[in-house]
Amino acid sequence: MTEKTDLDQYKEFVRERLKSLLDVVQSVASGDFSVRVQIPEEEDEFTALSIELERMIDKLIEANKVSEERMARLQAAVEEKERLLKTVGELSSPVIQVWENVLVMPLVGAIDSARAARIMEDLLTGITKYQAEIVIIDITGVPVVDTGVANHLIQTIKAASLLGAKCVVVGISGEVAQSLVSLGVDLSGVVTRSNLQAGIRYAMETMGLEVVPKREE
């Protein structure tokens, strides 16, 4: 009889030790690293297992910390990039008043639909703000002008004319001009000038202004 009781006691003992270890493993598995392993006083395999488990959890905590730091750095880098993109977006379609009622909008870089929408919005806002009569759009810095880009430009020019501003497109290179002709893009309703200087001269003439050399007193 006593033998059986001993066995029962032993079973109970094993069950308890296993249960305490299982609790720890379950907590860790669900991501809670705050639990600590109770290291028993007895020196048996359970104790050895508990010590190893403790070491494992410590390593997991360390690894978790490292990956969290890495995530934070990545997050910061992404935020920084988003800020930069926003800045680039703001810089990419500046509207500059060069004379009373005369605006210049230099475009640099590829024009996609999102940028085209932004360009139109910025330009229309600028026209209203400065009561512009003439807008010079400089496309010297636009690498490719295909029908898509040309279409965006034409839409922008149409919208500007609805606000009473006349657009002059300058900076069409010889190569782009040839491509536009081949593409059959009709710019006949659009005033164009070779470069920014010619555009400004056109604006001055239209406004009835003239730049003359200063007369000696």
Partner: protein, 136 residues
């Protein structure tokens, strides 16, 4: 020098990347500035059509030789809705997307050779070649 460009095109940004890279290849091959701009613009048109009509596809560009001639071949491939009437699609002013409607016809005018293989539901394959003018 047998550089081949192959790019998956799904966004507008891809359109510019493709156009830019094909232009760089054309420059490497010795095309003059005007022809570089032509192949760049054509690549842009074809890639834009992929994004606009098919959603995704591939743009390939590679140097080709035929006899003594050397040229640049651009291929735009997609598995989109395809073109029912190719002749009509090539016509200036015809568009199903509200665009200017002269992209394909214009692209053809800018290249020396231009082929479209397409059928409704079968996708579209455009192959365009520009030969190097060595005699000038």
């Amino acid at each position: 020098m047998t550089e081949t460009i192959q790019l998956r095109v799904t966004t507008e940004a891809d359109v510019y990347v493709a156009a830019h890279q094909v232009k760089a290849l054309a420059r490497q091959m010795g095309f003059n500035e005007a022809d570089q701009t032509r192949v760049e613009t054509v690549t842009s048109e074809l890639a834009r059509n992929i994004v606009l009509y098919a959603g995704e596809g591939t743009v390939k560009a590679q140097p080709v030789t035929r006899g003594r001639r050397r040229g640049l071949e651009i291929q735009a491939l997609d598995h989109g809705p395809g073109i029912a009437d190719i002749e009509l699609a090539m016509k200036d002013g015809y568009t199903t997307s509200g665009g200017l409607g002269s992209g394909l016809g214009g692209a053809k005018r800018m290249m020396d050779e231009f082929h479209i293989e397409s059928a409704p539901g079968q996708g579209t394959k455009v192959t365009a070649t520009k030969w190097l003018n060595t005699q000038h």
